[in-house]
């Protein structure tokens, strides 16, 4: 919380300084001269070194790497789904769903390798930046999660560009509530960074709507957490609540403290896997509908 009375006092100092300068006809003085006197409580430790240390520690996370997407470095965490969730048979379920859909619809993707599941963790609602862009897809026969993370404010563009690039390569998209949130959010961040993102080229299946249709009346609500528990017996222990994730974003950039970031990455992976399992459960055609731009 901001200390308003201190801010007011400090602003008063700027007011006075402005008057002095107006009276002297001189150029506005440098703030740095007075900074020490005014901001006694701000951290005096070396912020740049702390940031470097935090980014290095991030690389200790399992699966962490700095990858290159379209010629740009992006921090990513890559995990194998069968390692994460050996008894889940996630890949199997998803493959079966794709086959069912392909059998009923000639336009649907033929193989799991053509499909990607997307889930975004953000620093808040509209207007805020993208924190973690999480994707679930099959590569070299193995199902993996790939999480691209904005480690500091200036890296968001790279994460957005990388995500858009991946969706260009795999336009068969599966999400949970992606129609109202994830895809529009990505669209906006793409517009912000002047990245060309053609929503219309996506074949997007949002599982929320068929889930509502199929499970209405059976469960107390249609939240992903509820569905995963009721349908797959998954119980998340100590899961970070979604509304705390934005604060973690800013805190990590300010302090470099890793634990909560770990929690966010874990939460995000669980969301991806549950969406994949849900895809397997819903006995529907994975028919694509071109998303209108």
């Amino acid at each position: 919380m901001i200390d308003l009375s201190r801010l007011a006092r400090d602003l008063g100092m700027i007011s006075r300084r402005r008057a002095e300068d107006a009276g002297n006809g001189g150029t506005p003085g440098s703030w740095n001269e007075n900074r020490a006197a005014v901001s006694q409580h701000s951290n005096r430790w070396n912020h740049e070194a702390a940031v470097a240390f935090a980014h290095e520690s991030l690389l200790d996370l399992p699966g962490a790497e700095v990858m290159e997407v379209a010629g740009e470095p992006v921090f990513a965490v890559r995990r194998d789904v069968d390692e994460l969730y050996p008894e889940g048979n996630v890949a199997q379920a998803m493959r079966a769903a794709v086959e069912r859909a392909a059998a009923q619809d000639s336009d649907a993707p033929r193989t799991l390798a053509e499909v990607v599941v997307l889930d975004l963790e953000t620093a808040g609602f509209w207007g805020n930046p993208l924190f973690v862009s999480a994707l679930l897809f099959e590569e070299d026969g193995r199902l993996q999660t790939l999480q691209l993370m904005t480690r500091t404010y200036s890296e968001e563009g790279a994460v957005v560009r990388a995500t858009v690039q991946i969706l260009r390569e795999r336009p068969n998209l599966v999400t949970f509530n992606g129609k109202s949130f994830d895809v529009p959010f990505l669209s906006e961040r793409a517009a912000y960074h002047a990245v060309d993102f053609d929503r219309g080229a996506l074949r997007h299946k949002d599982l929320l709507h068929p889930a509502r249709k199929e499970f209405r009346g059976y469960f107390p609500n249609c939240k992903l957490k509820t569905l995963e528990r009721m349908l797959f017996g998954i119980r998340r222990i100590g899961d970070i609540p979604s509304n705390e994730i934005p604060a973690v974003f800013h805190e990590f950039i300010a302090t470099g403290y890793l634990e909560r970031v770990r929690d966010v990455l874990h939460h995000s992976r669980m969301d991806l896997i549950s969406t994949g399992l849900l895809m397997g459960k819903l006995g529907e055609t994975l028919r694509e509908k071109a998303e209108s731009a």
């Binding site: 201190r6 007011s15 207007g127 950039i253």
Partner: protein, 797 residues
């Protein structure tokens, strides 16, 4: 209407005590036309034909020429001069030429925007090609969600207000990328409304808009329309931060107008008390209604508008009962539904008279009115002319009557009509770089796009210091040379554009028999039980600062002519619970305040008298309240209060007395404090004319503790100061001279409300200025002696 005949009737009737001091004959004016080269595209020519417009007025054509040339334009015109066409035509021309082009039209209020939308839709009906390419609508708090999405995705001419732009559009500029990337025009209507705090904030919002457009590669042209003020070019340029072309000749025709100055007569032989201006107003309004002249009456305060409405209704009920229901009251703070009803009834002619505050001052199309009555000077000449301009649309003759309060400036204007009719009005002043204002907008800007060094060009030289300060406070964080928003707050919602305080209090009416306690034994604190939902309804709202001065427990609150008594004020829940009661008095708050001098910036001596300028902390609170009877204006009692104080840190100018001066006063048997009180009152009245602010923007207090002797402290009523009293500090000669003229010319013997009187410490906008008579009046001569010493003039009697 036949204004001359009506005035004659007044002169021998209710005006027979010589209230009519002056009648200015404003001649009719012929139209001046001009042609456009190249001419307008065919669809727009069709529209003009449909509107029965053959030619454009000269100023309309010039506006179109300038905007075609790619310049920012500021146009100054009077009411009903066709300024809407002046900006609508360039906008529609652009949209017709390029289907992707977009335009943003800004109005100070939602109501105005909705009114203008009607006009645009009417135009579209007249031309099929125009209707095909125009996708327009208002985008404001009332717009439903699906319409908002449609406007963002497809709209090309969008009408909105600065508040929506500030917190509903700019923070979400990514949703608006299409509109902003193609933005060709931004229209700022009623530019003169953007002064003081509001203007300083809006200037920053417009800079943020330009910045967001720049991000998407656009650089829109601005089109600003203003009523007559002395510095339209300066205001336009300060608002947008870029040079403008000025068009200030008005080619529109107007009918003749008679502008009468009406001074209520004295009611005592001592010539200190005048009859209540509210009483005079209702008498005039009653006469107008009986004559079936559709009229509007403007007052400064809500309380007054309500009172005048009430008095008029009572008079009509006695004299012409069938007309009594054709009078209504109108002000902000009513719920939107009620406001719309009144506007419609005016337009249809069902309503004959409206008693309004300045809420109706802006150009809402309510049809032709024939007469405008103005009670009390509305703090600027521009406002007065706007109010007068509400009467007389078209070429019909119209009447304007300005009724003076027993108040220094009003009486001064009564004696100096040339100030109203010859001199050009005052200048509008804004200070977008006030650190408190700017820092709020830098935070909003950082949320929208990270701050860079280049932003100092837009926001001014303080940008760098303020950005570092905000970073130190954890609001933003610098990464790779840019300052990013670094927390989960939403800054646009943490600041308001219009007030120093951004909250509003809700007023809830409860039935008389509900809950414990009653209007006569109001319960506060833990004993009060708020009513259940079904027993209560919301009847309006006020801003938080005024709430403590208007809705204190046991306050009589007037709403739509009815009296309510406040039973409970919930400070935390920001709600006032009121109960309808028939009472024959109203209440007025008494404010106390204190000043603490924190630091001196400059000192000087004026004719040997020390004056200074620096920073102070002012604390004030509503100490108790008086009960004042209707009509007689007698004080019938007091009530105690226990409300929390309010505090601001601001700038102040002070004047002390030399020992010699004090001795001389004592020699003549005068009390120095009394003299300083008079001086303070004069300064508070006069400074607004020169420093170009509202009277409510400055305050004054007499204090001996800070400097060890009695001193008058005048201060800006806004944190950090807005430059008003500073302005006065830098030109003392002018100010003291005007004060001296005022006190010298006043015909009273020892002091009266129209010179040194009205010792209202803080003229809260809701206080009835007519109540001045209930207060002790300082000694006129003591004040005059002080001023003469300051001006080193000889003591002349």
């Amino acid at each position: 209407m036949d204004a001359a005949r009506f005035l004659e009737k007044l002169r021998v009737g209710v005006g027979r005590e010589g209230q009519i001091l002056h009648v200015e004959e404003i001649a009719a004016r012929e139209a001046r036309f001009a042609k456009l080269d190249p001419p307008l595209p065919p669809p727009l020519r069709t529209v003009l034909q449909g509107l029965e417009i053959c030619d454009l007025y000269s100023h309309q054509a010039r506006c179109i020429d300038e905007s075609r040339a790619g310049n920012h334009v500021t146009v100054v015109t009077s009411t009903a001069s066709g300024k809407t066409l002046a900006y609508t035509l360039p906008v529609l021309e652009a949209v017709l030429a390029d289907p992707k082009a977009t335009a943003l039209l800004l109005y100070p209020t939602k109501a105005l925007a909705q009114d203008q939308l009607r006009g645009l839709l009417r135009m579209a009906e007249l031309s099929a090609p125009l209707a095909d390419c125009l996708h327009t609508g208002t985008y404001d708090g009332d717009t439903p969600q699906h319409t908002r999405r449609k406007l963002r995705d497809e709209g090309n001419v969008l009408l909105t207000n600065p508040d929506m732009l500030h917190s509903g559009i700019l923070p979400y500029h990514t949703k608006w990328s299409r509109v902003l990337a193609n933005l060709k025009f931004v229209v700022v209507d009623e530019m003169h409304a953007y002064r003081g705090i509001f203007g300083s904030n809006v200037a920053n919002v417009l800079r943020r808009l330009r910045r967001a457009c720049r991000h998407y590669g656009a650089d829109p042209q601005f089109f600003l329309c203003s009523a007559t003020i002395a510095n339209p070019r300066e205001l336009g340029e300060r608002l947008i931060g870029a040079p403008v072309a000025l068009i200030d000749e008005d080619g529109s025709p107007r009918g003749a107008k008679k502008f009468a100055l009406w001074n209520p007569p004295f009611v005592d032989t001592g010539r200190m008390d005048r009859r209540s201006s509210n009483v005079e107003a209702h008498v005039l309004l009653t006469e107008l209604v009986k004559e079936r002249v559709q009229s509007i009456c403007f007052s400064r305060a809500r309380v007054t508008a309500e009172l005048i409405h009430r008095y008029t209704q009572e008079a009509l009920t006695r004299e012409k009962p069938e007309l009594a229901r054709r009078v209504r009251a109108y002000r902000g703070g009513y719920l939107p539904k009620e406001r719309r009803e009144i506007e419609k009834a005016l337009f249809s002619g069902d309503l004959l008279a409206v008693s309004s505050t300045n809420a109706l001052e802006l150009g809402i199309d309510i049809g032709s009115l024939d007469a405008s009555v103005m009670v009390g000077f509305p703090s600027t000449v521009a406002s007065l002319w706007q109010q007068a301009g509400r009467a007389g649309r078209g070429r019909e003759e119209s009447l304007a009557i300005f009724i003076a309060y027993n108040d220094p400036i009003d009486q001064y204007l009564m004696r100096h009509p040339e100030y109203l009719f010859a001199q050009s009005p005052e200048s509008a002043v804004i200070d977008p770089e006030n650190p408190f204002i700017l820092s709020a907008h830098l935070q909003c800007a950082a949320f929208e796009l990270p701050l860079t060094d280049g932003d100092a060009e837009l926001f001014g030289p303080l940008t760098s210091d303020l950005t570092h300060l905000l970073e130190d406070h954890g609001r933003m964080r610098r990464v790779d040379g840019k300052s990013y928003w670094a927390n989960t707050d939403f800054p646009a919602r943490q600041s308001s554009l219009r007030h120093a305080s951004q909250d509003t209090y809700t007023i809830v009416e409860m039935a008389a028999d509900v809950g414990a306690g009653s209007a006569y034994r109001p319960q506060t604190g833990p004993d009060f039980k708020p009513p259940a939902k079904g027993d209560a309804k919301v009847i309006g709202n006020v801003d938080a600062i005024s709430a403590l001065e208007l809705l204190y427990p046991e306050a009589v609150y007037l709403h739509d002519g009815e009296t309510f008594v406040v039973r409970h004020l919930d400070l935390e829940g920001k709600t006032a619970y009121v109960e309808r009661r028939e009472v024959d008095y109203y209440t007025t708050p008494v404010l106390e305040h204190f000043v603490l001098l924190r630091g001196t910036r400059e000192t000087g001596e004026y004719a040997g008298t020390p004056i200074g300028f620096g920073d102070v902390t002012v604390t004030w609170f509503t100490a108790f309240f008086k009960k004042i009877q209707f009509f007689s204006a007698d004080s019938i009692g007091f009530g105690n209060l226990n409300l929390p104080p309010q505090e601001i840190e601001t700038t102040s100018m002070w004047i002390g007395l030399t020992d010699e001066m004090r001795a001389r006063l004592k020699q003549r048997g005068k009390n120095p404090i009394d003299g300083l009180s008079g001086l303070r009152n004069l300064l508070i009245s006069v400074i607004p004319l020169f420093a170009m602010c509202d009277r409510a923007d400055i305050g004054g207090v007499i204090d001996s503790k800070n400097l060890g002797k009695a001193t008058v402290f005048l201060y800006d009523r806004f944190p950090g100061g807005l430059g008003f009293v500073e302005h006065a500090f830098r030109r003392p000669e002018e100010i003291f001279r005007a004060c001296w003229e005022l006190v010298r010319e006043c015909p009273c013997a020892t002091g009266c409300p129209s010179c040194v009187g009205l010792p209202v410490l803080r003229p809260a906008q809701h206080q009835d200025p007519d109540v001045g008579g209930a207060w002790p009046i300082p000694d006129k001569e003591a004040a005059r002696m002080i001023l003469e010493a300051l001006l080193s003039a000889e003591l002349v009697f």
